[in-house]
Structure formats: C-alpha cells, structure tokens
Symmetry: C2
Subunit: 341 residues, 2 copies
Amino acid sequence: MAKVTQAEIGRRLGLAQITVSKALRGDADISEKTRQRVLAMAEELGYVANPFARTLAEGGSPIIGVYLHTFRGKYHSTLVESLERSIRRRGYIPLLTAPGDAGSDNADAIGLLLKYRARGVLMTVRNALWHQASIAQIRKAHVPLVLMGRFVETDVCSIYADDYNGLKLAVDHLRRFGHRHIGLAGLAYDIPNLVAHSKEQGFIDALAGKHVPDLHDSPLASRILRFRDGRELDQLRQYLLTHPDITAFACFGDSIALELIRCLKQLGHEVPRDYSVVGHGDDIEYVDYMTPPLTTMSHNVEQSGELAVDLLFQQINGPGVPPHQIMKNHLVERLSVAPPR
Amino acid sequence: MAKVTQAEIGRRLGLAQITVSKALRGDADISEKTRQRVLAMAEELGYVANPFARTLAEGGSPIIGVYLHTFRGKYHSTLVESLERSIRRRGYIPLLTAPGDAGSDNADAIGLLLKYRARGVLMTVRNALWHQASIAQIRKAHVPLVLMGRFVETDVCSIYADDYNGLKLAVDHLRRFGHRHIGLAGLAYDIPNLVAHSKEQGFIDALAGKHVPDLHDSPLASRILRFRDGRELDQLRQYLLTHPDITAFACFGDSIALELIRCLKQLGHEVPRDYSVVGHGDDIEYVDYMTPPLTTMSHNVEQSGELAVDLLFQQINGPGVPPHQIMKNHLVERLSVAPPR
DNA sequence: TTGAAAGCGTTACCAT
DNA sequence: ATGGTAACGCTTTCAA
C-alpha cells in the first residue's frame, strides 16, 4: 500500500494535485461533482492529511503546549481533561509534557514544546521558583503563556484559586459551628512564598476580624503550625500542649489535613468529635471514603481549565497580557466539622 | 526577529544552508572549525530545528501515540509518567490523547494519532468492547499497537496484571490469617467478560484447592457478591444474612473494596475486626489515610509501562507480534486484614 | 571540505 | 472550474 497523498488521488482521478487539495478543503471554486469524486477516492484509499506538510506550508503549527508538573491527584486529572477538550474544541492540538529525568536533553519538556512551535503554552506551577527557568525560556521565545495554580509575576498571565479568601471562608465556617480557638496547619517552608503568605494572612485576618498588615506581629501567628516532614506527630503533640484551647483547624491543603487527622487519631483524638478540620483544594480522589470525609475548600477546576485556554487565545490572537484570573473558592461540606467538644 | 532557519544561519556565515544542516547534525565531513562557527551562530540566534520540516523530509514521524481512557487514579498517573519517560528516552515524542466529546471530529483521538503518523500506539483499555472500534482503526492502518490493562485478543499485543493469581493470592493471604469462609465482592456485569471471569475463577480455585473447570457449577459460586450501583447496602445486608459464616472478603478492585468497607461500617461492623477485606489494583492515592489502610494486590506499574514501550518497539523494529506480557501481582499488606472474629 | 539539486506533501498566489 | 509554480525548512544523494 503506497503512501496516499493528494498527488496519488489526483493521479487516479486524472486531476492535478492542487485540485485535490482544494476539493478536500472545500474550496468554493471546485465543482460539486469533482469534490464528490475526490472525497470518494480519498475515502477509498484511506487518505490521511499530513499535518507536517500542512504545518510547513501554512507556517504555523496547530499545537498548544501543556506542561504539567505532575499528573497526580484529582485536581490535575480534572484539569488535564478540561484543557484537552477546550484546546481541541478550538481546532488545536494539545501537546502534553511533563518534566522528565533531569540532565537528559530529551527531558527538556519546554524545549520540546518550543521545538514543535507551540502557539502557546499552558503550565501548571507548584512553586514559582522551581519553574522560573522554564518560564524565562518560554518568554524569551515570545510564546504566549498562561500559568495555572499559582501567582508568579505580574507580567505573566496566571489563573489560580483565591487562597486568601479560601482560608477566610474556612475559618468563617468553623466559627459558624461555634469554634473560637482555631489553628492553622501548614507545611514548613524555608523561603517565604506568596501562597503560604496569602493563606496565613487570610487565616489571621479572619480571626482578627480585620486586616492585620504584618501577620507576624499578630499574637494569632503563634497558632500557625508548620509541619516538618517526619516530625508531624511530635510537633502536633507539642502544639496541643501549648494550645489547649484550640478546637479546630484550617489547613493549607487536603494532604496536610489528612496528615493532621491521622496524627490527631494517633494521639487518641477523634475528628470531628474532638477537633474539627477543614482542608483546602479538594484534591482527594476517594475523599468520600475517608473517615471522616473531609470538608474542604474547592474551586471549579473544569472552568478554570476553560478559562486558562481562553486567556491563552486572547494572547495568541491579540497583543497584551490579560490580567490574572482568580478563581473563587467555595466550601464543600462533608463530615470533618462539628461543634466544639 | 525573523524566523531563524538553517538558511538564515548560512546567510550570516556565508555558508550554504546544506552546510549548516550537516554541521548541526554532526556530519563527518564538515570541518571542526566550521561546525563551531555554525553552532555558535545557531546558539546566538536561538535556532530551533523545525520538526515539521524534518519529519517531512525524513518521511517518518518521531511520534508515539499514547491513548489513555482516563487520567484518574494512581495507576494511570504512574503509568503515564513511566510511559512518558520510556518513550522520550528512546528519542521519540509521546503524543497523549484522551477520548474527547463524542461526535466532534476533533474528538477522534485515535484519528489524531494516525494523522500525526504515529509510529506506534500505546493504549489503555478498561473494557475490550468499548475500545473495539479504536483498535480496529489502528490495526487497519497497520500501526503497531500495545494494549495496557486488559487482555483483549490473541493477535494484538497486550500487557496486564495476572488477575487470576491476584485473587488466588488474596484468598491465600486471608487463609493464612485463619479465615475459612471468604466472600468475593465484585461489580455486576451484563455481558460476561474475561477479567471478571479470571478473577472469579481464581477465587473459586483458591477456595476449592483445585481447578474448578466450570465455576458456576461450584457451590462456592454463591459466595460471589455482585454489587449493583446504588443498591450496595441492601445487597450486602442480604448477603451477610445468607452467609453468616463469612469473615473476610476478596474484591475485584480497590474502589469496590472501599465501597464494601463503607457498607460494612454502615451495617455496624468494623474492619478488620469483624470482617477482613483485600482489595485489588492498589489504585488509591491516599490509601494510607484510609481507615483502615487497604491491604491490596498490586503490580509494578512503572515496570509495566517500560515493558509496554519495549513491546511496542519490538513491533516497530521487527515484524511479528510479541506475546502477551502478564505482570505478577503481589500483596501489599496494610491494615484491613486481621484474624477472624 | 563544501555545495547544488531534488524531493518530502501541503498551501498561497497567480494564471488559464 | 482547474491548474502551474513557488514556497515552507529540512534531509538525501550526488557533484565539485
């Protein structure tokens, strides 16, 4: 079976290759009869358009780069599906990449996207610093970019959930249940970062009932528990000793909430009977099977995927960088919150 | 900034485009000095090879298609990362696709892979029937194919876990704990399928202590509980009534195991105190945070990803279809199994 | 050691 | 309504 090209179809039909090309694309000035013959022959021969030739001739690839720093978790699987759909719907092809083995040239995922002349790149970020080189690389190539998940810089478009208000709402929810002494469970960090700062600020402001400009100045800051890997249990024991009045926790994220709950259980406490816990991010696949199912802050990931693609095409089609988009968090009430003991 | 091509580099250096091409590819008959100049200029101009032109000229794309029927769960995220790496390591580009919205032409994920002249396709299957059209499409195009996750037909290469022995090992494990009366929890199915059959057969054979040719003939068959969506609780209640001696369950999959445990709890039982449960597949991301963490059958997903890629390249490089690969299941002991009550 | 010419499959532009 | 020609950026083959 020889390769089926437009020329081959033309040969069989006694038509010029260019006529076939036009017929296939539905060009107005090809007779209906010819078009039908061409279409039939194409079908019969199993013709498949060659996108490499097309791209070369058209001078612009149909590819949108999608860089995911991980495929794990409910958030990312939902996101990738949403992005896939949105990009396809616009007639573009998503090229998914992930960070590969360090060192090897092949592993340079961003380089790959650039090589394939991606018209734009969508990128999830966990930590602004980690991805700085990649971001710089993309911007240097003048390829439109949308970051997903974190705020990074003012001059690159990004879309992320409203962490500040997320924590605020979490605290409000706990208060509605009657909790007055609320702790915040986060991860220890060496370099201060915006996300942690927003969350801590939201937490403090919610508790203080007003904006506290310098959160470290607030007496409430001592309520922030910063888990250090492997030391969680000890830290929590210590924390509960020094904060006997605490009856509930807001958390930086769902995985931290789970860890917290596990430690609480190990210390003989029950959730939500003894302590209430609110997570953040709704990133647990089988959360309904957890005991207790985790009440958490969530945002519409489907929609933020669509929005990210929108923002990217705004940049592709016009100049200028659209402003950041902040996704509203809302509460997903499950069973990890109850009135204080 | 004009587009940087080999011709452009040549122009600046007073060299022919073809010389640049050769230098860039490290062709033997270019002087070291020239190569250095070319490399330097390429670097300076930010030259990026155009894979569309290259592919067109070479007549064979560097793309390996990866079709995932879902991105959800630990199994798929681990698999996709493994596949990505293995494919890249061989100098090929993975093109990931997922089933899109039905109807739209863009949604035809397999068509896309074929269009991009994928050298081979890796495909996860959940249910042989669902994917039959896609499989036929790929085979018609004479593109090498490896299926992952299920046995489908003898003449298409596939790689999957050993369900039969998985269930056997699960039962053995329960017996080692002293359980004598063991049930099997699965999903109801309308059309008999191989996977369900293997699991049920493994279960029955393990319990019977010998191979039972027709499993429906065995009195043990009544121990198989087939969950029907939404009716799980009622079914289980009924089941426990008619099988008061049962003290443990093997399960078709982890999600079923979780559902079973939830229902058991709702009926006032505790796991593993009253009933022991073994899952299958190790597909739960935060399984350690479950109560109890689920003991389950697992296989090496990383490795099966690598193997799948191996199998694919065997087909790409030589004729013939390599035999199926069956991944060994092993037990991952967590806390959902204890001696009988 | 370097380069010229042809060709990969398609589209854009201009002619017939 | 149909076709010729050039061009896209690269590699392969052959010539200088």
